[in-house]
Symmetry: C2
Subunit: 155 residues, 2 copies
């Protein structure tokens, strides 16, 4: 007797057996979608989204990124960075300083308020991340990060 029935086989997650479910691009996209949604939900309480959180993180980290560097790092169009920084600057979380070494460029620096907010937001972000990684051992967590780095920064 064939295992192929006419009825839909208990079908909650039949699709996980499809070839697509083995596709790394798909897994990446889906994992990212879920992660992003969770992160945005958690960051909303601080008036941030994943994007603005990332910008604030880099500003608060004293790497003094230019907007162009931000754009390349976050894979955004430079014009999107403008909007993002506008938002943070309006809230006085961040400052644009024209780079003395290149007066075309703006270097981003977090204000004290920005650092304080970031510290709080980072807690939320960490909590979410731990929640998502509940099924992953710390060792595998690090392993996953390393493998993702290979994809995220192909040199």
């Amino acid at each position: 007797m064939s295992p192929i029935g006419r009825t839909r086989p208990t079908g909650r997650d039949r699709l996980r057996d499809s070839v697509l479910a083995e596709d790394l691009s798909f897994l990446l996209a889906r994992a990212n979608a879920l992660t992003l949604a969770a992160a945005n939900a958690a960051l909303a309480e601080h008036g941030l989204k994943a994007r603005s959180y990332s910008v604030l993180a880099l500003a608060a980290d004293d790497v003094r990124p230019t907007q162009r560097e931000l754009a390349e790092f976050l894979r955004l169009d430079p014009s999107q960075v403008v909007a993002l920084v506008d938002g943070l600057e309006k809230r006085q979380l961040v400052e644009r300083r024209t780079d003395p070494a290149d007066r075309r460029a703006n270097v981003l620096v977090a204000t004290d308020a920005g650092r304080a907010l970031f510290a709080r937001a980072q807690e939320s972000a960490r909590a979410v991340e731990l929640g998502l990684l509940a099924a992953v051992t710390p060792a595998d967590h690090e392993r996953l990060a390393q493998l993702l780095r290979l994809l995220a920064f192909p040199d």
Copy 2:
């Protein structure tokens, strides 16, 4: 002498030392962005994008997904699935069949043309994926997939 110079230190990828670069959500987002861009570029030759490729893949795989299942699996709003399927159906790559078991639902099935196109597109997709994974051993490739599955399908 302090190592903090006034000049921007060789700065190609200084940002990789920031805390953000250790954030799994960020790595996921960036890896996904690069992967997605590469996939879209490769699929363009077949008139597909990652989204339509995914839908076609599931249709061609004979899992007979309903549109709702597609929406949940691909993390899309049901209305986006409508548009996606419209596009593929107009090109006769895919057919909507009302599910005899539930006449509200449409089951997606690929046409012969759809299967043929998918076979070709799959080759492109595979090639891209191999390119992106050049720095990853096959064993790590599988490991990465497994870890991503944990994030993509938290049960």
